[in-house]
């Protein structure tokens, strides 16, 4: 009797451990008919993987209304598969398991890792990259190979509250402003009330970095190292955190807000440093704010600084329908597709030709903001929002240094020294 139970348990356990093996085998069989289908040129299904959140609504419309019809005539059917939650983790899993889509998003900040998997098809010779903005193509070029075509992008700009500036009798920020004149305007604006601040600045590299670039600082040298003790970096830290210490700038969290856009919507701050994504938010959350948008100020280097935030489409090397996937990629980044994305007010298209787009010259505050964000991509020192192999952990030491300086917990030199040793350890670790 006992023997029987033992045997049964053993058999069961062995079956259990072996089960997934069969499951794996089955899956391969499933993919096989798909390639047969390609061979017979019947109908090809191209899957696209991307972000969850608000992306599905827009992308599905793009697929259905803009590019779907033309591709359907060629026998290509499209479907969008949003990956909710941690996109990077989900994509790595899918790539490793062989279930990743034919085309997927490649966020610029994690691109080196995704490309290192060897599952991203180099597009040299397959897609013409000349119509796209050079810095965007560069962000996806590794060792001379181009791995992704940017679907759209964003840069930072100064969005200012016209009513507050009018009330204070201060001239609006404009493209002639440098750090000093901007600081003066911010100081004057902050003077009009106890709970009014000139600008909202978070302890976040994603905003601060643009100021450091304007000071002439580079995030990485040729060897891939980072120097936070560079006097240029320190100048930027002094400027950025100094305004908060002085009380003319405020961290969004001190107004109970999660980001600068939220702080701007409270109408307690004069300027928010954000990209075009703030427009949709303001349209919904603060429709009464009269705002204007202008370029980032000119820094001590005599140039402006800016980030390039972008996501590209890449093609899976394991895709059974490579040719069709290239066609879809071209359609996704075509002018008509980009026009659609632009008019949705979410991001700026990645094609050079769109600078003359009538949509950007309509003269409305939103169109003006889009134009400023678009042109920001080629003004002064513009770097991709990319951190080599370290990924987004790279800026954690900088963020916490900024925070400890802003709160007065540490002085600038001590905080930067500590951040430098931490960032060196991170880079060393990633190599």
């Amino acid at each position: 009797m006992k023997k029987l139970v033992k045997m049964l348990t053993a058999v069961l356990l062995v079956t259990l451990i072996a089960l997934p093996l069969f499951a794996g085998g089955k899956q391969e069989k499933q993919t096989a008919p798909a390639s047969v289908e390609t061979a017979s040129k019947k109908e090809v299904q191209i899957r696209i993987m991307g972000y969850g959140g608000q992306d599905p609504a827009v992308v599905v419309r793009l697929l259905d209304e803009v590019i779907g019809e033309g591709l359907e005539k060629e026998g290509i059917k499209l479907s969008y598969e949003p990956l909710e939650g941690d996109y990077n983790a989900a994509l790595f899993n899918a790539l490793s398991a062989g279930t990743a889509a034919d085309i997927f998003y490649i966020p610029v900040e994690t691109a080196p890792g995704i490309i290192a998997t060897g599952k991203v098809l180099p597009l040299n010779g397959l897609v013409d990259t000349s119509p796209f903005i050079d810095s965007l193509v560069e962000a996806y070029t590794f060792n001379g190979k181009i791995y992704g075509i940017a679907k759209d992008f964003n840069t930072l700009a100064l969005h200012y509250n016209k009513d507050l500036f009018d009330k204070a009798g201060v001239a609006y920020p404009d493209e002639n402003d440098n750090w000093d004149t901007l600081r003066e305007k911010i100081g004057k604006l902050a003077g009009i009330g106890d709970n009014i601040y000139g600008i909202s600045l978070p302890a976040d590299y994603a905003r601060f970095g643009a100021f450091a670039f304007a000071a002439g600082w580079k995030p990485f040298d040729e060897k891939g190292n980072t120097n936070l003790l560079d006097p240029k970096f320190k100048t930027a830290v002094e400027y950025y955190t100094g305004m908060v210490r002085e009380g003319i700038a405020v961290q969004p969290s001190d107004l109970g807000q999660g980001w600068t856009g939220g702080a701007f919507a409270t109408e307690q701050v004069g300027i928010a440093v954000e990209g075009a994504w703030i427009l949709g938010f303001l349209r919904n959350e603060a429709p009464n704010i009269q705002y204007g948008t202008t370029f980032m100020p000119v820094g001590p280097s005599g140039e402006r600084g800016n980030f390039l935030y972008t996501v590209a489409y890449g093609i899976n090397t394991d895709s059974p329908n490579r040719e069709a996937a290239v066609k879809v990629l071209e359609a996704l980044t075509s002018e008509e597709a980009q026009q659609f994305v632009l008019e949705q007010g979410l991001a700026i298209p990645s094609r050079k030709a769109l600078v003359d787009n009538p949509f950007l010259k309509k003269g409305t505050p939103e169109a003006e903001a889009n134009r400023v964000v678009f042109e920001g991509s080629r003004m002064g020192f513009v770097y991709g929002y990319q951190f080599g192999k370290v990924g987004t952990d790279w800026f954690r030491p900088i963020n916490s240094a900024l925070a400890t300086i802003m709160t007065g917990e540490k002085d600038i030199d001590t905080a930067l020294k500590q951040a430098q040793s931490e960032i060196e350890a991170l880079i060393e670790r990633a190599k």
Partner: protein
């Protein structure tokens, strides 16, 4: 015999759905993780056997050592406080009071809400201008009035008790009836004093205690005992959310303690505290073992709070073993370090097991 074996097969059949799921997602996954922990696998290469290299590499990782320290401190402190807190609240709620069900439900609320929601709310309260700092500021502002009120209460209560004793009544120092009288009288007194302008609110700058974006540690030395403030913030939040769950388990155990024990103790003149230590605690000892074991396992595996606190706190201040595993599995812009992550996961599992076994020798699951 035949009937019995048929019964066994039937039992196994009924268990099958559960066993299959357990087998795939636990046994199989666990075996794979053990194998991976001895290889240099990165999800995209052919795994190569590297022996114990991953395990030795673990102890050279600064973040792993921090995670180990954080996890141990977190586990010991949170388990201790939440167990004691849950037992105390349970024994209070075990009393016969009016509206008890209301209190029981109210206390249980934090455990029903999802930990993500609670964490987000706490994240908001921990901000520099958040609720905690606001309350602290208010407390300091009202300090003079609060002190006057407490002083009045103390004086009036003393006078009343002494007066009663002079009259020959055996009044206790905390006699409820007298206490109510003195509280009402001193409230009136404080009101008069403040209207006359003899005391006023203090002008204090807003309390600016930084809970999140800080690298301060308490105590600042030695390094292996230092608790980063953001970790303390997570501890407070976790204690708040898990006390009610364990309170419920204790409450169930307390229901089995015969009321006659307490009555007999009362007749013998035992105080409430004596009853708690000599009746309640021994009675719930087996449950105590369960609660401590569950608490330890739960705290050692803490992950979600760290993930949600995310960029709001310096990573090394709050990193735990479970988060370390995740962080190495999906490390920014590099290939996953499956080998190292698996080794850390296996270490965490063995470590948890050891602690629970050790704990067993301290708290016996049976009363002798």
């Amino acid at each position: 015999m035949k009937v019995k074996s048929r019964e066994t097969i039937a039992a196994l059949m009924f268990l099958a759905p559960f066993l299959i799921i357990l087998g795939i997602f636990f046994v199989y996954a666990c075996v794979r993780a053990v194998i991976f922990s001895f290889t240099d696998y990165n999800l995209f290469n052919t795994p190569r056997w590297v022996g114990l290299a991953n395990y030795t590499a673990l102890f050279r990782e600064a973040n792993f050592l921090r995670a180990l320290r954080n996890s141990i401190l977190y586990s010991i402190i949170v388990t201790t406080i939440q167990t004691i807190g849950a037992l105390i609240i349970a024994s209070i709620l075990n009393a016969k009071l009016k509206g008890l069900n209301l209190f029981r439900s109210a206390y249980y609320m934090p455990s029903i809400a999802s930990s993500v929601v609670i964490t987000l709310i706490f994240l908001w309260m921990y901000q520099r201008r958040g609720l905690f700092n606001y309350l602290a500021t208010q407390l300091l502002r009202y300090a003079p009035i609060i002190l006057i009120f407490l002083g009045f209460t103390l004086v009036i209560q003393t006078v009343l008790v002494l007066y009663e004793r002079l009259r020959g009544f055996p009044a206790k120092w905390f006699d409820p009836a007298l206490l109510v009288t003195s509280i009402l009288l001193s409230a009136a007194g404080t009101f008069v004093v403040s209207i006359l302008g003899l005391v006023s609110l203090r002008e204090v700058p807003p309390v600016d205690f930084i809970w999140l974006q800080t690298k301060q540690q308490i105590p600042s030395r030695p390094e292996f005992l230092a608790m980063p403030i953001p970790l303390i913030a997570i501890m407070i939040q976790n204690i708040f959310t898990t006390i009610p769950t364990f309170m419920l388990i204790f409450l169930a155990a307390l229901k089995d303690v015969p009321i006659s024990y307490y009555e007999a103790a009362s007749l013998d003149g035992a105080t409430a505290i004596q009853k708690f230590f000599h009746i309640t605690v021994p009675a719930v000892q087996p449950v105590l073992f369960l609660v401590v074991a569950l608490g330890m396992i739960g705290t050692l595996q803490m992950f979600d709070q760290v993930a949600i606190f995310g960029n709001a706190v310096p990573l090394e201040s709050v990193i735990t073993l479970a988060y370390f595993v995740y962080n190495r599995m999906f490390p920014g812009a590099q290939l996953p370090e499956v080998g190292l992550a698996s080794a850390a996961a296996i270490f965490l599992a063995l470590f948890t097991l050891t602690l629970v076994v050790l704990q067993r020798t301290i708290i016996k699951s049976e009363v002798k």
